[in-house]
Symmetry: D2
Subunit: 84 residues, 4 copies
């Protein structure tokens, strides 16, 4: 059993209001030194079996069609250390 | 300039309908071998200056109060490779 | 063709960090008079055929299992004016 | 005290992978008759005082800058029946 993570973030040129809200809230909370915030999605997939190239290619296609909208979002697929 | 990432996921014992929807959609898309999906949030913070222990402690407090709800969500703070 | 909307909000007793971030950002944006913000999800379902009681009961079950987590979220199902 | 709701949905021409995931999951759950699903965000704002035209104009500006990204999302502002 392995864990594959897909991170999905709005493309840098797309305004991210959620991240902007967090950024704008920081001064009131007394937090300084943070100059940018972007908010995206993180998917954790539990894979039954080996995470070989074929499995990762399948997850990449899945990410491009069901987890992210490639027109407005970038995504990254990576294998995480086996959970447990 | 450094990037700090905060991953926020529902606690394992909390049902995650978004992840369930993705999981239930997989067979129809011909994707097999994935036995679990969880969906969470990913925040990317750009920090102006060094990411020393004090900055990370500040971001940890921020995560616990503004980025995640610790009653139902777990979060992880980590420094990513410097962007650019 | 009719549209059914399912609104999903965190239960009032569950802290909503996303809404808190928006609320905390308002003073800096010069917006006053807003004393609370909650952020939830909105699903728009296009139904092929009549939205009779049986269809709405089915969508209610769907909402309780796939759109919302009833342990931490409340949901409301309602028929909107026919689109188009 | 009044409640103002801001609904934010991806523009119709923007692919919505979250909604697609729900739609693709329906057959497996035995739900038929739903031909489209879109997922968006719902913000509930508690307003202290009257929701006159000036307040609504302010919330409209807020929606356009902090709650939605008008390049990819549509939003609707409306006054809901007073809570409580």
């Amino acid at each position: 059993m392995a864990r594959v993570v897909v991170d999905v973030m709005l493309k840098p040129e797309i305004l991210d209001p959620q991240g902007q809200a967090v950024l704008a809230a920081l001064p009131r909370l007394g937090v300084s030194g943070i100059v940018g915030v972007r908010q995206g999605k993180r998917f954790e997939l539990e894979v039954d079996g080996e995470t070989d190239a074929e499995v990762l290619a399948r997850i990449d296609r899945l990410a491009a069609s069901l987890l992210a909208n490639p027109v407005i979002e970038d995504y990254v697929v990576r294998v995480e250390s086996t959970p447990g």
